[in-house]
Structure formats: C-alpha cells, structure tokens
Amino acid sequence: MSKQYKVVHCTINGKEIEQVVDVRSSLADMLRNDLRLTSVKKGCEVGECGACTVIINGEGFNSCIYLAVWAEGKEIWTLEGLTGPGGELSDIQQAFIDEGAIQCGFCSPGFILTSWEIVNAGVEYTDDQLRKLLSGHLCRCTGYENIFRAVKKTMLRHLGKFEEAELVDSQGITEYPEPMPFK
C-alpha cells in the first residue's frame, strides 16, 4: 500500500509551522523525529507514564496516543518552549531545579509542562487536588515528594503567598482528621 501523507499546520512553542507528516505518526513521533523536540520522551507509548506529555490548547495530552494529523490548527507547547529567548527559565523550571525535583530527568519534561499549567491557573489547589492534577505522570526516582514541593511552592508564590510557600517544606507529617465512617 502506498504511504499516506498530510500537511499539518499548527503553532508549536509560539511559532507557526507547516509540517508534512505520515498520517500514521503520533504527535510524539512528529515532535521528536521531524521537529527534533527531544524533550518529548517516550516511556510506554500507551498513555500510562506521561513522559510524552505536551500542552495542546491549554490542556495536557499524552502525545504518544495523539495522531500528528490532529495537531491541525492547534497551539502546542513542549518543554523547549518554556525557556525565554535569552535562555530565561520560567519559575516552575527554576523550582524543579531548586527543590531537587529532578533526578534522572526522564519524566521531568512532562511533569514540568503539567505543573506549568497548574501554577498558571491562578487557583489555590488543595494538596489532594494537586496530587490528582499531577497523577498522570509516573516517576520512579523522586517519590513525587520534591515535585510536589516545587509545584505547591510555585503555585503559592504565584498567588502572592510567599510565607505559606516557605512552610511547604516543614509540612512533612500530616495530621489527618478522625476517620470517617466511610469515604
């Protein structure tokens, strides 16, 4: 059978692009292979690990289970797009560095993108909500702890709550209310 191609028009990291893709390509394939945006990582290729997460129209998607042709007309961000023209880091990137939220780094691009969305939402999420918002990513190095700290601190700083942000570190032991009869 003959190969089928299509031209895809979309905005990636703020830049309009036109790219010929094999219609069988996933968005991850297109970003990694055609555009060499190698921050997009493949860890499972079935949408379980979250390493290939990119932001499409303001929402995180697993680019491994998203066809490249669906990118038509979309606004897409990869980790490469978060850094300013002079190499300036966004505050969430800096927080991942400062909090030790990066170890092997393979899950980091996806995590940082999801976190970027979270901290820019202008919402003060509860700890449980934060965990749920971040739960589409698997990490085997960090136990999620320092990622949690980085995201919570940055979220609070975005909301002007600098003192609360400093308290995040000391909240390691959690006091729980008495158990409910059921949940």
């Binding site: 059978m1 089928q4 094999d22 219609v23 069988r24 390509s25 996933s26 394939d29 290729e45 079935v46 949408g47 379980e48 979250g50 997460t53 499409i56 929402e59 995180g60 998607f61 697993n62 289970i65 998203y66 066809l67 042709v69 669906w70 038509e72 999801t114 749920k132 918002l133 739960s135 589409g136 990513h137 698997l138 059921f182 949940k183």
Partner: protein, 295 residues
C-alpha cells in the same frame, strides 16, 4: 508510528457515516486512547480507520429543547467534569469520568468512545446506566435513539449498525431532576487505573426526606456489560431511610450481578466489594440529598 492501513478523515458527521458505508471494513477512531493502543498491540494493526476526532460539532454539553442534558459524543472527560450543566444536574457523571486514568487520558478520552467500546469497566458507563441515559445514533438514514439498557448487546459490542456513529448521549429530565448520585471506583491504585469494579448510585428522596422515592444503582465490571441491580432497586424504592434497609439493599445487589474471576481480581472479592460500595454509595447519596440515615 501506528500501523494504520488507510486513514479516512471525516469532515462532517454525514461524511463520517458515508465513509463507513463506503469502507465497511474501516473502524471508527475517536480519541484513540483505546484504539491506538490496540493498533500498537497488533489487535487492530493494519486496519483502515474513519477518523472522527476532528468533528468539533460533536463536542460540548447543552440542554436541548426537550430539556434533556445533551452531551456530544466527542466531549472529553475533562470537559464533562468542568461543564457547569453537568456540575449542576448530574455532578456524579463529572466525578465518575474524573476517575478515568489520569488527567492526560481524561483530556483525550471521549464519552462516546467510552460507551461505544462496549467495555464493562468504563467509568462513565455505570453512571449512565444508573441515570437511564439515551444514546443518540446517527446514520445516513437519520437519527435514532437507543435507551442504554438496550445499548449493550454483549461484551465489546453495542447497538451500532453499518454506517452509524454515536453522536450524543442524552439524560432525560425525568431522570436527572431532583436526583443525587455518587460513584465509587474500586481500583488497585488511586490514579492511572481501570476499575476492578465500580458502582454508581443515585437517589430521589420523598419531599419529607424520610423515604427513598427512587433509587437506581449501576455497576461496572460486575457482569460482561454494565448493569443495573433491579432487585435491589425494587426492594428499596419507597422504603424508609434506615441502616437496616440499606444493609438489605446492599446485600440484594448480589442477586443481580455476576462478576467474573480473572487474574485481575477474584469473583469473591468483586462480590464483596460490590456490597460495600452499594452501602457506602447510597449513604453518600442520602447525605447529598439532605437526608439522614436512621440506624
């Protein structure tokens, strides 16, 4: 790279139906969170697909002229959860689909895909069952409506005919008015999981909140397809809101469900949990409805 034979990209619903008739071997591709994975596994490798993902007309939640809640079939789980209509009238559906996989899966997964794959573990299915949803199906011949109780033919097979796609899911007013629902997903971890079993209950209480006027309970992974528990419902309707009635109701679900034994979970565990979930879900519904359980 996916092993796709030919990809036919539909431009309208009508075009999609026509493509399906012209290419009877082709399968429908919506959000792809199941289908693409199955292509990769080899189960659907090399097949042709009619891609409907770009049909934005199938997205969104509204109240239609008949006061049905109308959910476009391609509406993603994340958009259902955030939708104000859903939150106002059938919040439990938003909560249920907010337990699918993780956030990224909920961004791509569609409620249409979740019900057209005919899978019993679908997190939306037990709630749609319990709220007597109606499937709107469109073909080249026009539109037909299928009550959800007739929708599931057997595991992985639903009432979709040649050249048809599901275009919306409707919740009739009679079904959602004054109802309060709760869904419990039982799974082995708190995210990124499929349901070991799932239970969705909704109640309408009497005006004085002393009795159950109508209780509906749906299960996923309790049978080959999503099911209701009619014996239990029949028992509790009209009964007083007491701990004893809830206990009997919960145990009675076992007459209606038939979970299987598999390496994912044993039948005995699933049956046990089904009872516990029924008990806890109906109690939560009572609480949401402003009632009180008399122990």
């Amino acid at each position: 790279m996916y092993d796709i034979g030919t990809l036919y990209q539909a431009e309208t619903v009508e075009h999609a139906c026509r493509l399906l008739l012209e290419h009877p071997e082709a399968q429908v591709l919506a959000g792809g969170s199941d289908v693409l994975v199955q292509i990769r596994e080899g189960r659907r490798a090399g097949k042709d697909f009619v891609d409907i993902y770009m049909l934005d007309e199938l997205r969104g939640v509204s109240i239609d002229d008949e006061e049905n809640i109308r959910i476009g079939s391609l509406t993603s789980f994340s958009h259902i959860t955030k939708d104000p209509i859903i939150q106002k009238y059938i919040n439990v559906l938003g909560e249920a689909v907010d337990m699918v996989g993780g956030p990224q899966i909920r961004a791509i997964g569609t409620i249409g895909g979740n019900t057209c794959n005919g899978v019993t573990s679908a997190d939306s299915a037990s709630t749609l069952m319990a709220w007597d949803a109606v499937m709107e199906v469109t073909g080249t011949e026009g539109v037909r409506r299928v009550p959800i109780k007739d929708w599931y033919i057997k595991a992985k097979q639903v009432d979709l005919r040649a050249g048809e796609i599901q275009t919306a899911i409707l919740i009739p007013k009679e079904s959602y008015e004054n109802c309060f629902g709760h869904y419990i997903k039982y799974s082995m971890r708190n995210a990124l999981d499929i349901a070991t079993t799932g239970c969705s209950v909704n109640v309408r209480l009497s005006d004085d909140k002393s009795t159950f006027e109508r209780v509906r309970i749906g299960y996923g992974v309790a049978s080959p397809v999503p099911v209701r528990a009619p014996s239990a419902e029949e028992f509790i309707n009209g009964k007083e809101i007491t701990g004893e009635n809830i206990k009997l109701f919960s145990e009675m679900v076992l007459e209606d469900i038939n979970p299987r034994d598999s390496w994912r979970a044993g039948r005995a565990l699933r049956r046990h949990i089904s009872v516990v979930m029924a008990d806890r879900a109906i109690r939560e519904c009572v609480r949401l409805a402003g009632g009180e359980v008399h122990e």
